[in-house]
Assembly symmetry: C2
Homo-oligomer: 162 residues x 2
Amino acid sequence: MSVTDELLANNATYAASFSGPLPLPPAKGVAVLACMDARLNVYGALGLAEGEAHVIRNAGGVVTEDEIRSLAISQRLLGTREIILIHHTDCGMLTFTDQDFRDSIQEDTGVRPTWSAEAFGDLEGDVRQSVARIKASPFVPHTDQVRGFVFDVATGKLNEVS
Amino acid sequence: MSVTDELLANNATYAASFSGPLPLPPAKGVAVLACMDARLNVYGALGLAEGEAHVIRNAGGVVTEDEIRSLAISQRLLGTREIILIHHTDCGMLTFTDQDFRDSIQEDTGVRPTWSAEAFGDLEGDVRQSVARIKASPFVPHTDQVRGFVFDVATGKLNEVS
């Protein structure tokens, strides 16, 4: 049995006690943008229930064109107003460089990605510049409530980056 | 008190019973790519625990350059081998067109995005083409276990798209 099949069996249990449907717009008017890291359970760490918040995730919790697309749709079409940005300790993005990652892909496939891997060396510094990327975008209309945090994978705590 | 402050209070409760740290590579070797929709609780719907799976999310659960970046990092650096792609019923992406969304941004800001909103009219059709985008990428090495699903926001069930 594949892992996917195992998780589908879990889904049957989840659906058995599911009550829906809920409304489409997030009830708490918030969008969370976080790293894809397996140890960061966004619903758990923020005490979210189904229907409350948009959750956007990628390698690093970084802000590229696609996160601006998601945030623009979240705010312009579905009414969210606050943004919570989350990086975390012990992040894989701290362990390599863009150059090395793209070199290794080119060596293996013969094709060099046109995109940056968005690796970073300074965790809090990258939270700050990610918040700055959001605030610099003309496509995200509400940026007075954008706050950045580092999730500690040892303690489960969110620490704000000022 | 902002919603963000309210969720930070929830985080204190979460951290009080948190046990960590767990290893960086996802224990189940799987990456989930899903829509950001508030009603789709990926950890809940798949019965995932902290440390088990990468979770990548965006508006629509679509596959753009940034999702390829995340999947490439997930597989090449952190050892995942299976991909679960999830769209869902009642998706906001079914309610508008790229043209209208970009027109409205241009009207409001004077700037037209260079990116597509990735809206779609056919839910299952977009799951299929999203799987095809992953399989077409030279940067995602393991694509024999990529399966696509539609999450039903009324029942909580995942239905596979074949």
